[in-house]
Symmetry: C2
Subunit: 314 residues, 2 copies
């Protein structure tokens, strides 16, 4: 059942024992919104725990309260007054779904959220991030935004908008960011933390950039994280951003070797609908940012993705 923000706030008020979760493969918005909400609920004197069924990327480990995030164990069974699922739907919270017996309140900004298997859904696809929704809901909850809450919210807001550069950046996003800065956030400190790169990842970036190839008169550009590079890096986050800005490029792609017969493709575009290309290969995403997996050798996968993009641009 889809509910209003005011009603979602009422659900938080009336529950006492609350469990918060977010999606596996957690990003800044999943972690930031979870940590912010947990701190808000603590200020409301709730009995609250937070579970995410995945490892957390190292850049987020400095966020306030991050040590409170638990991973579920296979045999755990918990009851609560409310399970709050943030920034995703029920099918991407891993073992938390079966572990917790409680009414579910789902809060999300992804327009694709179907609300399957939840009792209450608050969905705001105009919000740039789930953190923007948590910022909005806090106004109904009579709690002060501490600096630590603000830092978590800002992190989600910034990472989900590519630091205020993506098309989802609206004036409401900027005004929320302004309020969080007033609450004590230092934008440069958050940015510095999020941009951090290990020396190994930097070296992997340079090796990857050396593989750059242009296709179709420079309208398409690709970089290739082959088996050797893949072994040496922890994260290829941000690699594709360096090639998608080349003059004349419409579609940029990154091909990563995941294992012997499994490759991963990420695509970005200026005009072409790359979600269509991704879907034709069993993947998905947005018009300008999409991806898919290809179950074959690295060399074959390269040919497949170059051909598929070629069809789309011609």
């Amino acid at each position: 059942m889809q509910i209003e923000l005011r009603e979602a706030a009422a659900k938080l008020k009336s529950a006492q024992k609350i469990i918060v979760t977010a999606h596996i493969n957690p990003d800044g918005d999943a972690i930031g919104s979870s940590l912010a909400l947990v701190q808000i609920l603590k200020l409301m004197h709730k009995d609250v725990r937070i579970f995410i069924d995945d490892v957390l990327p190292p850049n987020f480990m400095i966020l306030p309260f991050v040590d409170n995030i638990e991973r579920p164990n296979d045999n755990d069974r918990l009851t609560a007054d409310l399970l709050i699922i943030l920034d995703t739907q029920t099918d991407r919270i891993g073992r938390v779904f079966n572990m917790v017996e409680a009414p579910i309140l789902n809060i999300d900004h992804h327009v694709t959220n179907t609300g399957a298997n939840v009792d209450y859904l608050y969905l705001d696809p105009n919000a740039a991030a789930t953190c923007e929704i948590i910022f909005n809901i806090s106004k109904y909850l009579d709690v002060e935004l501490t600096m630590n809450i603000a830092r978590c919210l800002y992190t989600g807001l910034a990472t989900d908008t590519g630091f205020f550069n993506y098309a989802n950046t609206k004036s409401s996003t900027m005004r929320a960011a302004a309020a969080l800065i007033d609450a004590g956030v230092k934008p440069n400190e958050i940015a510095e933390q999020m941009e951090r790169k290990s020396l190994a990842d930097f070296k992997g970036l340079v090796e990857t950039l050396k593989t750059m190839q242009l296709f179709y008169d420079g309208k398409v550009v690709g970089i290739f994280v082959n088996e050797e590079i893949a072994k040496s890096v922890d994260s290829t986050e941000g690699f594709i951003d360096l090639i998608r800005v080349i003059d004349g490029v419409d579609v940029a792609f990154l091909l990563t070797c995941k294992s012997e017969n499994l490759c991963r493709v990420s695509m970005r575009s200026k005009t072409v609908d790359v979600s269509k290309i991704a879907r034709s290969l069993g993947g998905g995403g947005h018009i300008r940012a999409a991806g898919c997996s290809i179950k074959t050798s690295f060399e074959e996968a390269k040919q497949i993705i170059v051909d598929a993009i070629g069809e789309a641009i011609n």
Copy 2:
């Protein structure tokens, strides 16, 4: 004479023939604030011209009204009711200073502006950009912010704050950005335009990153635009940003070969005061971002800058 914003607005109202200029080596804030102000003055039915004594970087050539920017000729002599100098002081406007005979209104956000040789100075060092000041002054001028004015202002605001990531990003900056988005700016379009890189510059970036060297247990990292790379690129904008984020690095520097016995150093830091290092070598800047020129060979300059940074960190 330092004046208030309201008084600066009154000067604009009372003048009819106005010339606008900004600093040589113009950046997004210089160009954006000039173009925005000229459009505002045109809406006020002023007779206005805009001169910048330098070539404009290609990324800014899509800004509304950019074709109206003129370069002075050596023999030009102009009179006006007001010369407005934006984003710098009189010593960095090239030949415009001697070309124009008019009372000078200087509007700037650089705390180092001494107001030398100007009649009126409006200085707001709390503004993240001169564009933020032009946004503020527009409220006194009874003109509507058109989308084209907003795009120019947003460009300066975004580029001078590293797209809202530098320490000068305040809540007032974010609220100004919000108002500009409400006036029609698409943040992603501005970001895409500013991030554009030519293929030659991209290749130069890869060659430059390959030269990366660590010093002093990884606390210092340097990259080297030698003579060959320097010849192949138009701009090294953003190169240093890719190395300053490496884990454990405090000081990052970029050494560029300008000519046989002239090298240019750019430095960024997390804690060390690099403006001190720059000043000791005849340069200047801010605590965390500074630069200097070294008049010697590339190899010798490298030794000099590595030694100077080493002294500062130990």
